[in-house]
Symmetry: C2
Subunit: 376 residues, 2 copies
């Protein structure tokens, strides 16, 4: 994996770059649609490529491990072959889902024992197991196994958890170096900074992570309920420590405004379920603000879904029609809103890249953060 910085903003830490993987390139800042169980919900692979113009998607290790399972993924020749997405794929480590979804989980030093949320079956994730699973999935970018601490989290727990995450990283790197990719293309592994909201822990963790010389580095444990100002403060602290010449990935973030603020702090990669999850609930993001499509005010608004939108759904359908679909519980509503929101997020990072390149990022961002938060 290569990373090249193409342009840097002079009045913020924003930068425009290019990640190159064996499955193609990713322009940064990048937003990665979340393809939980090997599918970005309600979106065809063709639409992801041609209409949304995603350059990389995410897969969830926990979900893919449980379904379809590693035997199927290996027989298919990896996730790319299985789901037909031929671009780069990043997989998380499963740590977050084990924490948030599984039943009767038990974190211990060795790893995590948990029961599947699907059938209650018992499984163990250790750092070594998680590396092996991501080899079977065949992600271009794998994530090290970590514990994502909740918010709020007391100092003592955060400190102990951070040390465990660091020890798990050593084991992940060991396993990573003693194993090979299964499908003939290269895989990278990103370590994850933890430390909750505590500046001293975050500094310590960022220094430890920075010292590993990985292809890229991630910031975890944010966007878990803390105020946005804390997320920005910690991101800024950590970005100042993580190596400049490697991509920085802020996990699970966020709203369009969060993304612009993150870019300004030097973040290169983002992922979030918000465009698809909120879309399925009838909320769309536009360059003029947020639209709740269920609102009665749209019932006879026959103007395009988003007159400034870049996807075909923005002109093929009116707000009144899409409101009708949501009110009637028709699947086409979530389908349309998911495509719109993902295309909007891609537009947002594409615009950010262009404004970084031409030196106008900070002025543009200042205007956008006001508009994006408006409730239409």
């Amino acid at each position: 994996m290569q990373f090249e910085i193409k342009a840097s903003d002079t009045s913020s830490s924003a930068r425009k770059g290019l990640i190159t993987t064996d499955h193609g390139s990713i322009e940064t800042p990048a937003f990665m649609p979340v393809g939980t169980a090997g599918t970005v919900k309600a979106v065809h692979t063709r639409e992801l490529r041609n209409d949304i113009k995603a350059q990389i998607i995410l897969g969830n290790t926990y979900h893919l491990y449980l379904r379809p399972g590693l035997d199927i993924l290996e027989k298919a020749g990896g996730l790319h072959k299985f789901n037909g997405w031929s671009g780069p794929i990043l997989t998380d480590s499963g740590g977050y889902q084990v924490y948030s979804l599984s039943e009767r989980r038990k974190f211990q030093h060795e790893g995590v024992v948990f029961h599947s949320h699907i059938d209650g079956s018992r499984h163990t994730f250790t750092p070594e197991v998680v590396v092996d699973i991501q080899r079977s999935i065949g992600a271009d970018i794998m994530m090290a196994f970590d514990e994502c601490t909740p918010y709020p989290c007391d100092y003592d727990y955060a400190r102990k958890s951070m040390h465990m995450t660091h020890q798990w990283l050593n084991r992940c790197l060991g396993r990573f170096s003693e194993t090979e990719p299964l499908y003939g293309y290269a895989q990278s592994m990103f370590p994850i900074v933890q430390g909750s909201v505590y500046r001293d822990l975050r500094q310590q963790s960022a220094e430890f992570i920075a010292s590993q010389g990985a292809d890229g580095n991630a910031i975890g444990g944010l966007s878990v309920g803390e105020p946005a100002e804390i997320m920005y403060e910690i991101s800024e602290l950590v970005c100042g420590i993580l190596p400049k010449e490697k991509p920085r990935y802020l996990m699970g973030v966020g709203t369009p405004v969060n993304i612009l603020e993150g870019i300004a702090l030097g973040i290169d990669m983002f992922d979030c379920v918000m465009p698809t999850r909120n879309g399925r609930n009838g909320m769309i993001f536009t360059s003029k603000g947020i639209v709740n499509l269920r609102n009665v005010k749209w019932k006879d608004d026959f103007s395009p879904l988003d007159e400034d939108g870049t996807a075909y759904v923005d002109t093929d359908y009116s707000r009144a029609y899409v409101r009708h679909l949501f009110i009637s519980g028709e699947m086409l509503g979530p389908m349309i809103a998911s495509i719109h929101n993902l295309a909007f997020y891609q537009w947002l990072v594409r615009e950010a890249r262009e404004h970084i390149a031409d030196g106008s990022f900070s002025a543009w961002k200042g205007r956008m953060v006001k508009q994006l938060a408006v409730r239409l």
Copy 2:
């Protein structure tokens, strides 16, 4: 509305024709995807046009009347403008849904009083109201208000109901002739033959309907649970009486085999929820037989969804992947199966038209009915 017969089969009553409406032409035999509430479930309008290649879609009067309601449809300029489908649209009369969906309905001579399945609100459908609603929707082809008798149905009820349907037809035609289209293009109205499974009633009803000189004629009250042989027998009887030079529409039919048998009896138009409803449940129809995508036998079958299929979903996705989507409850599964099945039904009637034109329909049909019923 014009109808022209282009070719007739010599060894059956099958014929190939062309219906021309102000929204474009429909090659017959035609299959009409059902767009219940102004949307063919789980399918984008773009896909309906470009991938499925539907030439006409159906709307349900009952559903559209309740949601979005006539005020919205009129403000939009009719259903075509509302949902963005620019081809021909046929609407049913609402009689079937009033019967099958609404609560506390009461059929009386004047019309039907019913309570909405959505909010319990009270409504009255009379023949006049139903014509007015279909004027507001702006269907190219409207259906007369009828009572669709259930199966089984005793003779006396069937006879009385048929007479009521005939009287309602007179009132529909009266209202139709004294009102005008609202949106500047022509609308036709098809009457419906009823009479349950009773040959004398069906003969009487078909003669009454044939005498009206309508642009096209429909056969209702079949495919409601009776054996397929009875459906074919009644269809044959009625087709022999309905005028040859007008299109014949067999309502709510059916399986791929039902459609081929209907074509052989002289039916020109079909509609059915089966391709979308069964698709959403994981059943797909192929030229080699029926596939239950949930079956464990597909779990590691990485061959295309349908190697003979004509839609992009047939080659973009494997059976193993689509099975995984259904097992995991992912929306993309129903989306893929709906597109596949609708494209398959369009392929089936397209092939039928070609075989009628080149004189090979009966031989081809004989081979197909065997293959289509196989369980793969």
